[in-house]
């Protein structure tokens, strides 16, 4: 089955500049070799703790950041992807590879091609207070993608803006106001309207409910679900709130220090997580039911810095199942059960 988004071995490093000549002395390896596929019309959950690279991954897929390695395919046919992978292994310098990459691999896009992408992929940010320009009217904020991409302007743009505002639960009376006049939930709706006004296929939701109240959260989540059905959207739902991810995602990937450790359908990963980190993570979530209190042994230690990640499997210093091989080599993502991938040497043995 052809997936909408296919990411292969994606890498994104942030340089640390220092010294008199301002050279790169080290890199923060935010995303360090991530491979995943997002299917059409699914909600793909991406969870992890702070610093694991999930936001970076989302933004790199959207090409808001330029990747330092790997491929990103958006709606490319499976044969093309296979051919590119084959060529990269056998003949990395071939002209055909270069041509195909320029055609299909988002990692190489720039200028015009990138502008076309913007229509098909969008993002909703975490904090609606900072993601909306405080000096612009709502009408202009939501119309911006249309105007910037040359899709519509003036009256026609205003019509489209009104349409999408009504779909997200706002109205004409909100057009000529500034963002600070609205509540957090309403601002997030404005941000959603802006993301959907040019009818994209793929939307990255970067912790969209973390900055709003619990009661507003449910409203927004229902809105996401409705809009997904109505507009045929595919979501990448990034969050650190596992209870929300559990309810809205079809499949979930758990990230740790720039790599994916487990990827499976939602119910599976929450009912029986396999990777030790996934287990610890899901165990740590407090359950809102005092009768289910239990003495937990929380995960010890802290997340190491992504500048100098541990060698081999990134999790080995904190892992109860760590073996010798874990300290030297990085475990590959293996399909342990159907559609359930884990990167762990200890589990591979069984």
């Amino acid at each position: 089955m052809s997936s909408l988004i296919f990411v292969r071995n994606l890498k994104k490093y942030y340089p640390i500049i220092g010294g008199i000549f301002k050279r790169r002395i080290a890199s923060v390896k935010a995303v360090d070799g991530v491979t995943l596929a997002i299917r059409r019309r699914e909600t793909f959950g991406l969870v992890g703790e702070s610093g694991c690279g999930k936001t970076t991954l989302g933004k790199t897929i959207l090409r808001l950041l330029k990747p330092d390695g790997g491929n990103i395919f958006f709606g490319a046919p499976q044969e093309v992807i296979n051919e590119i992978i084959e060529l990269e292994k056998t003949n990395p310098k071939s002209k055909r590879l270069k041509k195909m990459r320029e055609e299909y691999d988002l990692a190489t896009f720039s200028g015009e091609k990138l502008l076309e992408l913007r229509r098909r992929m969008q993002i909703v940010y975490q904090d609606p207070t900072t993601s909306l320009d405080p000096r612009m009217l709502v009408k202009d904020i939501v119309a911006e993608p249309l105007v910037a991409q040359g899709i519509a302007k003036g009256e026609e743009a205003k019509k489209l803006v009104l349409e999408i505002l009504e779909r997200v639960g706002l109205g004409e009376q909100h057009l000529y106001r500034f963002p600070h006049e609205f509540s957090g939930g309403q601002r997030q709706r404005i941000a959603i309207a802006r993301a959907l006004v040019c009818r994209p296929e793929f939307v990255v939701l970067d912790e969209p409910t973390s900055s709003v109240d619990v009661s507003v959260r449910a409203q927004l989540l229902n809105l996401f679900k409705d809009l997904q059905k109505e507009f045929d959207l595919t979501y990448l739902f990034i969050s650190h709130d596992l209870s929300v991810v559990e309810c809205i995602s079809d499949r979930v990937a758990i990230m740790y220090l720039g790599k994916i450790v487990e990827l499976a359908p939602t119910y599976k990963i929450f009912k029986s997580p396999l990777h030790p980190y996934a287990q610890a993570l899901i165990e740590s979530v407090p359950i809102p039911d005092p009768t289910k209190r239990k003495e937990r042994a929380p995960l010890s230690g802290e997340v190491p810095s992504p500048v100098n990640p541990p060698a081999g499997c990134r999790f080995h210093p904190r892992c109860p199942l760590a073996m010798d091989v874990c300290k030297k080599e990085e475990p590959p993502m293996t399909e342990i059960e159907k559609d359930h991938y884990v990167a762990c040497f200890a589990l591979m043995k069984r």
Partner: protein, 375 residues
């Protein structure tokens, strides 16, 4: 879709901004010092507009103080305030004659506004352009521009302004090729900064090459004549822009990484659009405040230059000029008292003018800060 009239739509569009302005005015109205500052400036504005009525010009250039020949033949000394000359008269050591201080002060108001506003405007344009480009693009461009800015800041402002005034040629001859050359250079910088499509680069290069060829031999077509005051204007602008560049660079660096700028990129905005529609409106406030304060201080600096003799023509109607002329007459304490009117009266004008702008600038800062924070 409602069918509103054009007027109604326009009103709706501007209504929220008008609300903001009302809020600002209300807050300014609450501070008595702010009202005082505005009152002073309004007073000077009215004086400037009414200058032809209050002090009717005599002669072709209204900015030259009229010479009272009659009085000049009577006394060789400046005359204290009388009914004929309300503020008294002053005698220049370069051009003979008794000059009416009242006339000089009234028309000096126009000079003061002109210098203050024009210098600040030009310095703002240069400073904002350089500062924004430097901060937005970063990297080596930022380094170069900022070191260049540092060099200018390193010079003491007044000294550099003096040097520029003296060094500036009075007559700048420009021929058509030079004009085209300058225009093309500016265009080239803009294109390099904003990276438009390929189709623009080729014609620009061709034009540049052609004009360079023509430059070698062509007649002089245009001559720009600079008056002394114009030279003061240009030098003060050239000395003043670095502080604005630095200021807006700091603000742009702060705003550059905000989510809404990235969101604009995600929406497909070009760099130029991001800078003009998102970054500038959010960074310009501190500059507005500093520039109103600067209008006052620019007038002071221009007065200092006139005092040192580098500013306007000898009998130009300018406050600093009058004080400069009075320098010759107050060498001893007794003379100081006798000829008090020669420096005290224009001095009061300068003080009030600068005070008005300072109070307004302070009031703006108090009001705009919480408004920014309110968001």
């Amino acid at each position: 879709m409602s069918t509103k009239t054009r007027w109604e739509r326009l009103k709706a569009e501007w209504a929220p901004r008008i609300e903001e302005w009302k809020f600002i005015l209300r807050r300014i109205g609450e501070s008595p010092l702010a009202i005082l500052g505005i009152a002073i400036i309004v007073f000077f504005v009215i004086m400037a507009f009414m200058a032809p009525i209050l002090a009717p010009p005599q002669g072709r250039n209204p900015f030259l103080m009229p010479n009272d020949q009659e009085l000049a033949s009577l006394t060789p000394q400046p005359v204290p305030p009388t009914t004929r000359h309300i503020f008294g008269t002053i005698i220049s050591n370069q051009v003979a004659g008794q000059y009416d201080i009242y006339y000089g002060c009234i028309w000096g108001t126009i000079s003061a506004f002109r210098i203050g506003i024009m210098v600040v405007a030009i310095a703002l344009i240069i400073g904002i352009t350089i500062g924004t480009i430097s901060a937005y693009y970063g990297g080596i461009l930022d380094e170069i521009l900022m070191r260049f800015t540092d060099i200018i800041i390193a010079f003491p402002g007044l000294v550099l302004a003096m040097a520029l005034v003296i060094a500036f040629p009075t007559i700048i001859p420009l021929d058509i090729t030079q004009i085209i050359l300058i225009l093309s250079a500016v265009l080239a910088i803009i294109f390099a900064a904003f990276k438009p499509e390929r189709k623009f680069v080729l014609p620009t290069t061709i034009v540049l090459v052609v004009t360079l060829y023509l430059y070698l031999n062509s007649p002089i077509i245009l001559s720009i004549n600079l008056s002394k005051l114009d030279k003061v204007l240009i030098s003060l602008s050239l000395v003043g822009w670095p502080s604005y560049a630095r200021l807006i660079r700091g603000e742009v660096l702060r705003v550059k990484n905000e989510d809404y700028v990235e969101a604009a990129k995600a929406a497909g905005c070009s760099d130029l659009r991001i800078i003009t529609k998102h970054i500038l409106p959010n960074t310009i406030y501190p500059l507005l405040i500093v520039s109103t304060l600067d209008i006052g201080s620019i007038v002071l600096t221009a007065a200092a230059l006139s005092f040192l003799g580098i500013g306007a023509e000898p009998n130009y109607a300018d406050w600093g000029n009058i004080i400069s002329m009075s320098r010759n007459w107050v060498s001893t304490p007794e003379l100081l008292v006798q000829f008090y009117h020669t420096f005290l009266i224009p001095g009061i004008f300068i003080t009030l003018f600068v005070l008005g702008w300072n109070l307004l600038g302070d009031a703006l800062r108090d009001v705009l800060d919480p408004m920014i924070r309110r968001r």
